[in-house]
Amino acid sequence: MKKYLIISMFAAAATVTQVHAADANNVGCGWGSMVFDGKSDKPSQVLAATTNHTLGNQTFGITSGTAGCAANSTVKKYAAVSTFMTANVDKIAHDMSVGQGESLDTMAGLMDMSEEHKVVFFRLVKDNFAAIFPTTATTSEQALKSMSELMTKDTVLSQYTV
């Protein structure tokens, strides 16, 4: 009886300290992830917080997806916007529905947009939210494509299209 109790206590300790493997490496979800896929939590990561660690490969490369594209600034800009969009799509979608916000502002900044034109851009994405995010299956890449198409048709914003 005693032994079982002790074993179960240690089992409990091991359980609460278990770090969720799949969740620990969730920064930057990669291409084509679902817009509303969101991110998963680490509810039972008890000790990892004290003892910060990374998983597997160390990252020192600049992860804006610009490798090999240095010569072409258009490609570079698209990669930067697209990577940012993919990693922050839950916030950008919300900012778009409101018509402003830090993440949307940052994305406009990545497109080198002037302050006055940002206002036009924010209006455009808010008014056309349903066209940019038509269904729950929309991927961040599709949303970015729809947004670009809308910008192309706009007299002011077409210059910023990525």
Partner: protein, 638 residues
């Protein structure tokens, strides 16, 4: 002789010295010796040397061999300096420019050139293409020390974490720190069990590396997933200091350091970077033993002309709590019903609201749906359809006013009580007077002032109490808690939290059935339960405990039991707290007895360093209860 020695260094470092100009290099070496460059603080910072505890030598923290150009570089600052001079002054015959010493060790090269008045033309021409591309991509102009604070219901996160954010020059009206790069240092591992990870990490069982990644990734992780408020301390560095920091980051990025959780951890390594940026601060040298992230933030802020401004980035849950608190009861009800699919946007509780309130409620609902999804309380399908519905509806409202973030707490983490604590106490145990001394290297208990900390979180680490009483007149170990974690996080209709408890260590218990003498035993308790907030300043909790007591008096040397504890924690007025707790532990399965205790404690904090505390406790067995009174002075230090 000197030439022979030099030659051997170069051979060791794998550098072809055939075409070197030996006289020029020798002259450089002589000048460097005259200037005693190898003894300077800057050189020690660049190579991460620290003075040996025993003897007069130096040893570098860096453990990767290719960080050193001399074979004895790890322990010989002079040999390393001379090897570096030889390497940067010697034209290389093979390999890409990026692999040359000048390109690999950009910060060392810059410093040596400056100290020895070397012009660019004095050294072989190199084109550091990889470094230049990296540097221009990061585009550094400013440095911000970032401190993600503790997260709710996870006391072990209380030590915090630090990283650096490298900000590009400000263009236009608004700053966009999300796309800045961040530098952090972490152990590299694929270990998923936190306990194994913690134990191995304490012993330095992992290699640590610096990494650089976009800051938004860090915000998403700390703010959204872990619900940690983030403090951003923008440092007042000159352009040259920023440049030195980045150039040094480049030269150590391939270097492994043994990772020790207590001392050579993330926060310590960042201090070494800051030391390189601004020599003379001696930040890393101020932490010979243990390094707690909050302490490193304080050490940085104690420097002159270091802080430009502080920003607060509340965690998702902090904002959500703030926003939900501001909703009317009807709106809260709708929100709960909507999230659990019991109602929809056609509900009168929603449709009858003014447009501003509708916009506000949609924003809160979206954030709450996202939160519930991250907590695995909503399925992907449910979360996706609700999110799309909420945002589409929101986009149709012309209102573009966003939700306002939760305001920062009155005090920042660096303004809370200091991390280590000693206390002196006097008291009585069953009318016998005693005096006691307690030392706790870290970090925070339920009665310590919560300013700068998460309320309802406790983590005591190596908490040691020695006591002497008037009868025995000898010093005895009263208590030694190796680890004592307690989290009382209130459950609300919107946020359910398990309160929990874990402690392990030595304590005195009335083990002897006949005499009820208190004897030193090793105990481990694990408990779980729930907490309710009766008001903003009063929490009550109840937990079920499992306990194991190790003592040689028992058969098999141990016994076990199940217990119950109920208690409460009140913030009476700012700086004055009160805790009460009643506990029973049933050991009757083996020895037919029940341990019980009733405790009342109160604490008044005066400043970051001083507090006064009083305890009354009645404990023992039903037949023999003893009363303890204790008055103690607490002094916090760093």
């Amino acid at each position: 002789m000197i030439r022979l020695w030099l030659y051997s260094i170069l051979t060791f470092a794998g550098i072809v010295a055939a075409h070197a100009d030996p006289i020029a290099i020798q002259a450089l070496h002589e000048r460097a010796r005259e200037l005693r460059l190898h003894q300077s603080n800057e050189w020690h910072n660049l190579l991460h040397y620290r003075k040996d505890v025993f003897g007069s030598g130096y040893t570098s923290f860096a453990d990767g061999a290719d960080f050193f150009l001399a074979a004895t570089g790890k322990t010989d600052p002079l040999a390393e300096l001379e090897a570096t001079l030889a390497a940067i002054a010697t034209p290389q015959q093979t390999g890409k420019d990026d692999e040359q010493a000048q390109c690999r060790f950009v910060a060392r090269t810059r410093w040596l050139k400056q100290q020895l008045n070397l012009a660019d033309t004095d050294l072989p021409r190199v084109n550091c293409a990889a470094f230049n591309e990296w540097y221009s991509t990061v585009n550094p102009a400013g440095v911000t020390l970032v401190f993600p604070s503790a997260y709710i219901n996870n006391p072990s996160s209380m030590f915090g974490h630090t990283l650096l954010r490298i900000d590009p020059p400000v263009t236009g009206k608004t700053k966009t720190p999300l796309t800045s790069y961040s530098i952090s240092y972490a152990a590299e591992t694929t270990e998923f069990n936190g306990l194994v990870f913690a134990i191995r990490g304490l012993a330095g069982g992992y290699a640590g590396y610096f990494s650089i990644a976009p800051y938004y990734g860090q915000v998403n992780e700390y703010s959204d997933l872990e619900n940690r408020d983030i403090w951003e301390y923008e440092l007042d560095f000159t352009p040259l200091e920023v440049q030195r920091l980045m150039e040094h980051t480049w030269e150590i990025h391939r270097t492994a350091f043994d990772y020790f959780f207590l001392d050579e951890n993330c926060s310590f390594q960042l201090l070494t970077l800051l030391d390189v940026a601004r020599p003379g601060m001696f930040l890393a040298a101020a932490f010979p033993l243990e390094v707690i992230p909050t302490d490193t933030v304080r050490a940085v802020l104690q420097q002159n002309n270091i802080l430009r401004r502080v920003s607060y980035r509340p965690a998702s849950r902090t904002n959500l709590t703030h926003w939900i608190d501001q909703l009317a009861a009807q709106q809260q009800n709708w929100l709960l019903a909507y999230t659990t699919a019991q109602t929809n946007l056609q509900d009168a509780r929603f449709t009858k609201l003014a447009m501003r309130e509708q916009a506000n409620l949609l924003d809160v609902a979206y954030e709450y749906v996202q939160y519930q999804y991250r907590r695995h309380n909503l399925s992907r399908t449910d979360s996706a359809s609700k999110s799309l519905e909420l945002l589409t509806q929101r986009s149709k409202l012309p209102d573009t006013q966003p939700l306002i973030d939760a305001p920062p707490p009155l005090l920042r983490p660096d303004q809370g009580h200091l991390s280590s604590r000693v206390q002196l106490g006097i008291g009585t145990l069953s009318d016998t007077a005693f005096a006691q001394f307690t030392w706790r290297p870290a970090y925070h208990d339920l009665l310590d002032d919560d300013s700068g900390h998460v309320a309802g979180s406790q983590i005591n680490f190596l908490d040691l109490t020695l006591r002497v009483d008037e009868q025995a007149q000898q010093v005895k170990l009263e208590k030694f808690a190796l680890l004592d974690i307690f989290s009382i996080t209130p459950t609300t209709p919107f946020f359910s939290s398990l309160s929990w408890h874990f402690d392990t260590g030595f304590e005195r218990l009335p083990i002897d059935v006949a005499t009820a003498h208190r004897k030193l035993a090793y105990t481990t308790n694990i408990g779980a339960g729930f907490t309710q907030a009766l008001s903003a300043d009063l929490r009550v909790y109840g937990l079920i405990d499992g306990s194991v007591i190790v003592h040689d008096q028992y058969e098999d040397n141990l016994t076990a039991g199940v217990g119950l504890r109920v208690g409460g924690l009140a913030q009476l007025i700012p700086k004055w707290k009160l805790q009460f707790e009643a506990r029973v532990l049933d050991l009757s399965y083996h020895e037919n007895r029940v341990l019980q205790s009733l405790l009342l404690g109160t604490s008044i904090s005066f400043d970051q360093q001083n507090a006064l505390r009083f305890y009354w406790e009645r404990s023992g067995t039903k037949e023999q209860l003893q009363t303890t009174l204790l008055l103690s002075w607490h002094h916090y230090y760093q």
